[in-house]
Symmetry: C3
Subunit: 419 residues, 3 copies
């Protein structure tokens, strides 16, 4: 394991540096410096947002925030190349602030898929998955935005739905019967749930930047910001209301507040820069909240028990279903586009094709990737070592003591019970 | 409880969406996109700053950061409407980046008041309080800035003093004799105090953006940034010095470092965009630090024991007293305004009237709101369930085990003591 | 202790405010408002980045994030004056957004040195060190950038190498034989390591802003952003690969991920705004990662055991060695400058002189400062009280209980062992 990961990572990095040496140049005149604050917001979402959102597991915080960093740092380099190959000029990829935004975007797909398999894969498997997923993502993105000319400014389809269904296909192929019953480590602690809220909040706060970062001009950028802001706010109130409603004792559930509150940002993405009216944005956000809460409550257990899809973070409910909702909203909006925006050349059919191709390619690509990740060479952890940092990380001694201590306590209790 | 909260929240959200459908439009030409980075800083302050600042309680972190999110997401929608109604054009409220900044601002009042009642109210009560407080806030803000034409760029009066005295009035009306003696949950843990520092730092860092976000042009914006930066720095050194000085063993107190270091941002708010000189800004910051430390050390216990005002987070010392100091600084500065800024049309009398009306309306509005929150229908938690997330949230099992364990340990100790 | 710290801090703050009153004015026309987002990124790095990076120790989180705040808030005021004295016009220091960026920069040197002595010094000692270090830093910076005309846009030399070697000299003079063997508090917990990742990530994310904030125009600013982005990404992959490789069981080490991943930002600093090509930036980042990992693994133990240099945070590996690498890269780049940038007037000799003078002045200044900090008047903690917040902070009761509890447990174990 030790040498396999290290050598693969070093080799990949050397290959990437060589490819950069051959193909990458600075953009001569970068007119995108004004987008730098948007880039920084997206950058925080990718590393802090996604990273901390996944720290909710009690013994998997190092991996969540650490492997998230590994995947993102690797992915942004690979994404620069993969996306760049589709837009070369004179045989060169020209990098600027906008291509950095797109590179960060491309890593989001891998991080979403990481959420589906969280706790069940090795760092080496994650590197391979990132490599394959971003390659396929770049092809699908080219298909959707250049060939089908579909609109998808906030990437509800190309990033969120793609990343979710890719990850679901991977986790289906990597299915572990041994995890059918809830693993003892697959739960949160009080502090881990608060750490996860750091991720939630930075995602929630900067989502307007995510949906507006690559809008084509300032007018559309403002629209995307305003629509996302109100969509998320409406989604949040609906999520709190339903979280209490679906619980038998009426209590809020942290997993819902951490995740479903964000669904409004995903769902409004495709048509965020359109003049859909804040009212419509809020309706989309509200519906996304409903879908996401119901998905977590009813669909995730079903997927796991009936379809053998073990989706650790519930990415289907945060990115998958709301991503499809975003795609459908895009179809509807283009159908009435005369009223919303003159320069949109996409048709409802194109939008539908974009949505369908995205999900199809994601599922096929994920299944293929899952098959490759299953190769014995990549050696994943045993079932009982799942959701446990100590397999891949040096963990402070104290924790081990604490474990002994807990066991001790358990014995103590048993002892008392016997008396 | 379960149905009451859910139905009220859903109903309010539906009403808000309908009102948005009727009244809200995009601004035709938004010239405020350049303010977007300021908006984002304020946005982080509202959700991460206020949210994490209140996580200091050992068993109330979910509510602090979660209900903070609920209040803010609800408040920003309601604030858009309430502030918008005072500035309609052609029967429509036009939203843009600036109105988003103001919507976020309006939520700050409710979050400050939330700090006063933290741990003692239900989520449903907080929704109602937010609804009422932002309605009254929008009226007072209109009175202060449009009718009295008072200056208050950083909102020392209209947000900080208003939110604090509103919250103090609410908590007075909701007085619980059973909490006269310190509740066992009303304390911090090592980790909860560090979580709270996340809130403190993001508030401290982005306060220059808060005080400059709606300054009328770039010259004044720079002044507000520079003045707030140095005011906060001076306040911080004074707070550390006094924190050690007022402790018997000379030790720093986390509650003071978390809160009093911020008083300089509040107090310099009213006149932040004036040419008051960095020297004067630092004097204001230093005095704010002194007032705030002394308030936490001597006034808060007094308010609780003599006046039945139970101020959980000490918002009186962070927002109330420094807010009044800011108001007084505004009176002084307008009195010598020839030297500082020609275009200020406010007089010392107007500033004093603004300060007085703000405190008066806050106290009256808070008392009225407190009375409504007392309605049995809204059912608040019993005294012994205060400051405890598990009343309204699903809390990880581990914590409960830990509790059993602690009890076990206590019994063990008692057992040993008996021997 | 109590009076000494408080009186010194109050006195210093009064002196600073008086000096501000005499010397500091607003810049008449500030053309740097467009740099405000860069300032805010740097501001977050200084207070959240450095502060949380040092929270990794299990009982020293309050001091890490709290004294970091004290040092930074004091340092930015003192830095404004010390840097300002070298650039006075008409006997006045003119402050604007750019001077705020530089003031924040100057605090970074003191915070880096704080990392070297972390856990072993008193708050009073830290105030004195900050005072002296920033004074000497401002002189060296003037020497390097104005007299030697060396390029150092991201301050690899003037901040990182300077802060590191200054801190190493201080910690050498303050050498404690009693800490030769690892102190029982000098370790992390699971949560403290995750807190530290908050610091790591905000430093990592905003480093492109750090290296570009004071670049002379937009073209160079974009270069600095792009180079730093890819340098950090390459460094991160190399760090993960080597972290696994140098561990016997192939496990990742949190201390390496928290620190060595950042070395790429330091090392690319000096020549970040040059057209060195992303390829070269990635090579510099990769080499920085290698040097940093090897430094942590092999050099730090050696420095401690052979040279009596006890470097708590390993600043030598994060700031010292990568800073020197940055300086060397600067020499190489100026040697071939015709190809990279016409307006650079610095020569390889000047760059070498800048690097040498920086290290020499840092070591001499640090030794002098260490000697002053040793004065009995400043009274530092005993060896056994090192790395322990409770010496300078009120710490929640629970922790003490927990300690009693742990002891209890230890006795329990011993009891069992005896049976």
């Amino acid at each position: 394991m030790r040498l396999k990961f290290s050598i693969t990572a070093l080799l990949l990095e050397v290959i990437i540096i060589v490819l950069f040496g051959i193909f990458v140049e600075y953009e001569n005149r970068d007119t995108f410096l004004s987008s730098y604050p948007y880039f920084q917001d997206v950058h925080v979402m990718i590393f802090v947002g996604f990273g901390f959102l996944m720290t909710f597991l009690k013994k998997y915080g190092f991996s969540s925030v650490g492997i998230n960093m590994l995947v993102a740092a690797f992915g942004l380099q690979w994404g620069t190349l993969m996306q760049g190959f589709w837009h070369m000029k004179g045989g060169k990829i020209h990098v600027n602030i906008k291509s950095m935004i797109n590179a960060d975007f491309s890593t989001a797909t891998a991080l979403i898929s990481f959420g589906a398999v969280l706790g069940k894969t090795s760092p080496l498997q994650m590197l391979i998955m990132t490599l394959l997923e971003i390659t396929i993502f770049a092809c699908n993105e080219h298909l959707v935005t250049k060939i089908l000319q579909a609109m998808d400014v906030g990437a509800s389809m190309t990033i969120h739905a793609f990343g979710a269904y890719f990850g679901l296909a991977v986790t289906l192929i990597l299915y572990r019967p041994g995890l059918k019953n809830k693993h003892e480590n697959e739960e949160s602690t009080y502090n881990s749930d608060i750490f996860a809220m750091i991720g939630t909040l930075f995602l929630w706060l900067f989502w307007p930047s995510f949906n507006s970062a690559i809008a084509s001009d300032e007018t559309f950028q403002v629209k995307a910001i305003v629509n996302t802001y109100y969509s998320l706010a409406a989604c949040t109130i609906i999520t709190f209301a339903l979280s209490s409603l679906v619980d038998q004792r009426g209590k809020f559930s942290m997993v819902l507040i951490q995740n479903a509150t964000l669904a409004g940002g995903v769902a409004v993405g495709t048509c965020a820069d359109m003049s859909i009216h804040p009212f419509a944005a809020m309706c989309i956000g509200g519906i996304a909240g409903i879908i996401s809460v119901l998905g977590f409550r009813f669909l995730t257990p079903l997927l796991s028990s009936k379809l053998n899809i073990q989706d650790t973070c519930g990415v289907h409910n945060l990115h998958g279903l709301p991503g499809i909702l975003g795609g459908i909203a895009g179809i509807v909006v283009t159908a009435i586009k005369e009223e919303v925006r003159q320069d949109v050349i996409s048709t409802p059919g194109m939008q539908a094709a974009a949505l369908g191709s995205t999900i199809g390619i994601a599922l096929a690509g994920g299944a293929l990737t899952g098959g490759i990740l299953k190769l014995p060479f990549l050696g994943q952890a045993s079932d009982q070592n799942c959701f446990d940092d100590s397999v891949y990380w040096e963990v402070p001694e104290e924790e081990k003591l604490h474990e002994i201590h807990s066991n001790n306590y358990d014995e103590h209790s048993r002892f008392e019970a016997n008396m």
